[in-house]
Amino acid sequence: MKRIIPLFICLLIGFSMIIQFFIPHPTSLEFGSTIYKWVIVLIVFALVLAIGNLIRHHGTKIRRQKKDWPYSIVTLSSMIGMAIIGLFWGIQAESLFQKIYLNVFAPLSATMFALLAYYMASAAYRAFRARSLEATLLLAAAFIVMIGFMPFGQYIHPRFPAFAEWVMRVPNMASQRGILLGVAFGAIATALKIILGIERAWLGGKE
């Protein structure tokens, strides 16, 4: 019972989603969109559990005065504050909610994203060493593309930018395609095993 019912639900939904792909009839489209609406509802219910976990994690930290506990107050109070503003005063454009989004959420997000420029430099410096044939090829390809796509590339050789583009368009594309094809088989096999109940880590592995 405890395994059969969840497995059956999984099989049923998975199989219907496959079938649905092959039926253009409006009834099938409507079925797909209804399931999708249910999925959204389930996501929200799971979010209640998830936020509960977050509150408990930080709550425990504050109660036991663990290391860095004052920061947990920042997380909890800003979450509650933002949620209240959004729930009671609305989320339309020009609202306080959007103002906070634009001036707090957005710069934090953009700056985290911008850290990448620094990390690319330090990762390249540390890892791009000609230790083996593979590492040397990695290094060489990165070099060619970095130089070729920059204005100064043409001064090394007039055809250098074209060569860099060739590296992107031919060997790079070939390897990406090869990886994608392999990935597709792996993903399909994994999805099939889940639907057929062969892979069941979520139910606790072996029977």
């Binding site: 792909f21 092959f22 039926i23 253009p24 009839h25 409006p26 489209l29 389930l42 996501i43 929200v44 799971a46 979010l47 559990l49 998830a50 936020i51 976990n53 408990r56 994690h57 290391k67 860095d68 959420f105 934090l108 997000s109 985290m112 994203f113 850290l115 990448l116 990390y119 690319m120 330090s122 990762a123 390249a124 540390r126 890892a127 791009f128 990695l138 990406q176 990886i179 994608l180 094809l181 392999g182 990935v183 088989f185 792996g186 993903a187 399909i188 096999a189 994994t190 999805a191 099939l192 095993k193 889940i194 057929l196 062969i198 892979e199 880590a201 979520w202 606790g204 592995g205 072996k206």
Partner: protein, 356 residues
Amino acid sequence: MLAILPPTDLQAIDKPNDAGSSVNLSWKLSSDDSMIDGYVILRRLVSDTTYHEIGLTGRGVSFFEDEGTQDGQEYVYIVASVKNSRLFTSEPSNNATSYPQVFHTGRINVLLCIALFTAFLGYFVSQARTGKELFIRRIPGLAAVDEAVGRATEMGKPILYVPGLGDIDWTATIASMNILGEVAKKIALYDTPLIVPNRWSVTYTVSKEVVKEAFVTEGRPDKFKEDYVRYLTEAQFGFAAAVNGIMMRERPATNFFIGRFWAESLIIAETGAQTGAFQIAGSDSVLQLPFFVTACDYTLIGEELYAASAYLSREPLLLGSLTAQDYGKIIVLVILFGFTLFSFFNINLLALLEVQ
């Protein structure tokens, strides 16, 4: 003013493989196509007498899709060349009726693929069930998992497992959950703490269940702590910021980054490398793999991610499916060479691969 020739050979048919309410029109261009302003499409019900304009197209276009029909009603169309607001109309079309289809014939190749692959999978899994020995080649990143878990135990530090930033509808996330189960089983044998941060509420519920079940399977349900599996936030870079914080403050000895990743991949992998942690990454995100390769000790590339749960568990049924995957790839190679060869004998089979 000279008379302009109208378009000819107007054909109307129900649009195939759709949900109804559409009729496809095609015609031969007017001989004066280069001089006209465009074409106007008009329609009437067979039971009606007057035509109504339903759309227009530019010159050189000989196709129109009428997306506003009522299923089951019969329509007649005419198309007119337009020049200086004067219409030169074609002969009326045949009567056409739109209706929805029950099977999408343009996708029959996908259906065949699924059927074939499921058959392969079924065959090799049942082979495995009979106890046939199955080989799997060494995958360095996975051979290192035991070492990674052992290292953390020795150092008395936690293990971090990031199950990717994709929600459950990314298959890589499902694969990551399977690997998490195997890793958690190894951890359950020791007293090493585990940290599994989640970006999505749904993956949070799944990974919690997976880790708990792994501890139960190994007979150590008491060792499982609620705090092992955490929810952080749905914001992509907020999640990355918080994972950075975990790596800096809780100092895990081993980091696993396994699943679907986007631009944040290098942010977390490079921070992990700076803390000196042993790192194993695995992803099917082609654009992020280079960053994992540069910043991590081991990287599972593409399909290796999907082979991992079979490799780690050595469960025959799962190994069987790996063999099926390999046969799938062999078929791909056969198609690739076969279609290329045929095309040089003027037999073009590419249309078989097209999906609508």
